[in-house]
Symmetry: C2
Subunit: 510 residues, 2 copies
Amino acid sequence: MSTLRSMDPQTGEPFGAPVLAASDADVDRADAAAVAASTTTSLRAPAARAELLDQIAQRIEDLGDALIEIASRETGLPRARIISERARTTGQLRRLGRVVARGIDLDATIDHGDPTSTPPRPDLRRMNVALGPVAVFAASNFPLAFSVAGGDTAAALAVGCPVIVKAHPGHPATSALVATAVTDAVHDAGLPSGTFTVLHSTEHAIGTRLVEAPGVAAVAFTGSLAGGRALFDAAARRAVPIPVFAEMGSTNPVIITPAALAARADAIADGFVDSMTLGGGQFCTKPGVVFVMDNAAGRAFVELVATRIERAEPAVLLHQGILDGFTHRRSQSVEVAGTRTATGSRSRSAGWWAAPTIVSTTIDHYRANPTLREEHFGPAAVIVRVADIDGLVTAGDELDGSLTATIHADIDDDPVLIGRLRTALQARAGRLVWNGWPTGVAVTDAMHHGGPYPATTASATTSVGDAAVRRFVRPVCFQAWPDAAQPAALQEHNPWQIDRRVDGTYRPGK
Amino acid sequence: MSTLRSMDPQTGEPFGAPVLAASDADVDRADAAAVAASTTTSLRAPAARAELLDQIAQRIEDLGDALIEIASRETGLPRARIISERARTTGQLRRLGRVVARGIDLDATIDHGDPTSTPPRPDLRRMNVALGPVAVFAASNFPLAFSVAGGDTAAALAVGCPVIVKAHPGHPATSALVATAVTDAVHDAGLPSGTFTVLHSTEHAIGTRLVEAPGVAAVAFTGSLAGGRALFDAAARRAVPIPVFAEMGSTNPVIITPAALAARADAIADGFVDSMTLGGGQFCTKPGVVFVMDNAAGRAFVELVATRIERAEPAVLLHQGILDGFTHRRSQSVEVAGTRTATGSRSRSAGWWAAPTIVSTTIDHYRANPTLREEHFGPAAVIVRVADIDGLVTAGDELDGSLTATIHADIDDDPVLIGRLRTALQARAGRLVWNGWPTGVAVTDAMHHGGPYPATTASATTSVGDAAVRRFVRPVCFQAWPDAAQPAALQEHNPWQIDRRVDGTYRPGK
């Protein structure tokens, strides 16, 4: 039987005990078990589903320092980052528990019948039901928050979907440890074991088999464009196609107006370099391209950034594949950019270290060279200089789909310019940041972490925030049912005390 | 240049003036014009979008009897049916106008910032924006309500998406006439002409080209499984994949409990035959398969239905293709069913007439012969006899995805049986009807007209009811924007007076 090893990014050396890799038969067993668990899991009351998420959060906390230690060592991310990521992960579980306890995921909607209308209108009541087993493909860059018990798993379990996680091979020991927390909570809740399974593998074929498994009803993925698109294609080819919620690459453009640069170029340069090097530049929301005017202020800004980059520490990347991809893309971009390049400290000899890099180029080069427009996963970014104000708007109009877009502007800017930029950017991104930085994604009701392709394969959905639960449900309408035979969510006296819309009016549950 | 002719289903003969068929260049022009119109159309205020829908409704009514006449003649559907379908169509336009005037489509959500949280949480505000140009593939069986100005067009225009309709070649003159109403309303509203285009064609290649057109952002389709799947596949193959909301075939199973049959077999037989022959059996919600117990009462029910079918008038079908498909599938089913068949009046010699048909068979035959499980589009249905009560539940568990599922039950039924049936059916259908019939789909807030594949390619969405507008939008989140620079929907003083959720609490707009 094949196994996976933990690798230390700081040294490039394996360590710890091997983890067993999943076989084809393991995928098939997980699928069958998830189907068997599906009805039990989906029929639980909101309070019971919330309680499961609370228990998972508690058990992750109970793993204590052992979890922090292993996650930090497997990813090269500092302990402090892992500790805050754990807080985010458990906070997210508990928050989605509160969301479903209110019945937000059910979207319960009641239209009382109207026998006097022509034709007479029957009593109609709609609620959402769980889609069924969800395959979750974990990300490498958030070993807790977008991994085994991360946002996708939390959202799927929250609405009553069994989960089969394809763990990321970059942190197998962390994944196995978190899996024990979830599995124990599922067991203690009296749910069937098929409610939650983790599969470890380095083989793409295992992932494809999971997407093709007949019981799987939806796929959630966080990772590269190539990986997400491959799963999307596999899901679309199925006899019964299923939705793929893939959150993929993004360049997260930043547009800086002349007024903003005049007012606070230093502060913007500080913020930009901090944001693009945060976590080794391995955030899906890393600001990867900045547009400024090609004038004295714009060129001075490039130098401000270059100075900071040249002082920046090397970053340790998550795994060999990311380092190789980063090195390759950076070389390509440096080669074609044609103008200014700045690089930070040199890589160390062992391990997966990369030097922060900035490339400055003109809009003509940027247009002509696709490599400059692609995501550089790691601590690199491109500064593009455009001829004039209209060039900033045109740059916005030409962007590919992105998770975020940022405007740095000032009180002195023409409101018409701001309006044009907003119109351009809201057509191309999922979140528009004003005078801030896109890294840092709050888990709230109004958050949207998604965007037009290639940022995601499903631009109407989010993988972060309360609305993340909406991905794994579908509506069912009950027509003219006797009250006692209806699902509790739709019964007249609202036994679950959930939020509902009744005859067009919002009715909070409690 | 190639043209299409109107055909009279009652005679099979062409009539009226030819309509010009679209060329590849027409598709490309429509796409470019829709893209050019996109920003103008999408940025309109809710009240202006509602007004456009009202004006379209008014102009359809202004077409008067000429519309009723031509739609009835092109489809073979009676005048009374077309008149009520016109009322449904205009009612739907006006209703979706009221929905967007309330801002339901925007789902505006505001979370005020919290500088005291760790890390500090910025002000976050989310609203939906229009996806962009929508390609609408009209259905043959509702020449008004699911055609040029039908539900899909209404929903797309309601949220600010330009629409390119691929008209159904079964009613070209009706389509051209309705198109004038929409085009005039678009023009009078001061919107660019690319906001709405109708293309006529009998060629699949024109439809495929439309789905592949670079500006098209979503596809809505009502029709056959083969047609919907072909468009879905084309959309998934695109460099930038787009969503396809295809509402396709459905068998709309009906399960009748022994208690219901004991209480009112005659009434159920009446209702069933009325519903399955309504509109020539050409409803996507036609009850196509009925499950009863294989006992004396079940067999007596088959005879009650057979007697009514043998008295039933022949139905005129919409076009030659539907008649051919119906005849072929009915022959196959009669051949394999093995037991009782009943057929109504014989077809007339000219035109596209079909005899209502019922086939009764056992669950074993039903399981063994895929043809029995497929939709028979037209006035035919299958009655399946199962051995015992558990057989009714098992039949429910084995169903393919369907738009609807119906239970006929009675006060004497075991609540446990009802619960098991509900659980089975809600996993497989989009609307569960109690002691009624699935034909007749009310346009309300709680309606859901959708279902698991193969009923649709997007089970989380509906093509009828207020929620139909949700298909053509995606969210954008605004982070830390100054109030004056934000979209009106998200400004603090709520200038559009729309419904919003603020810090987790619903706030009606007016």
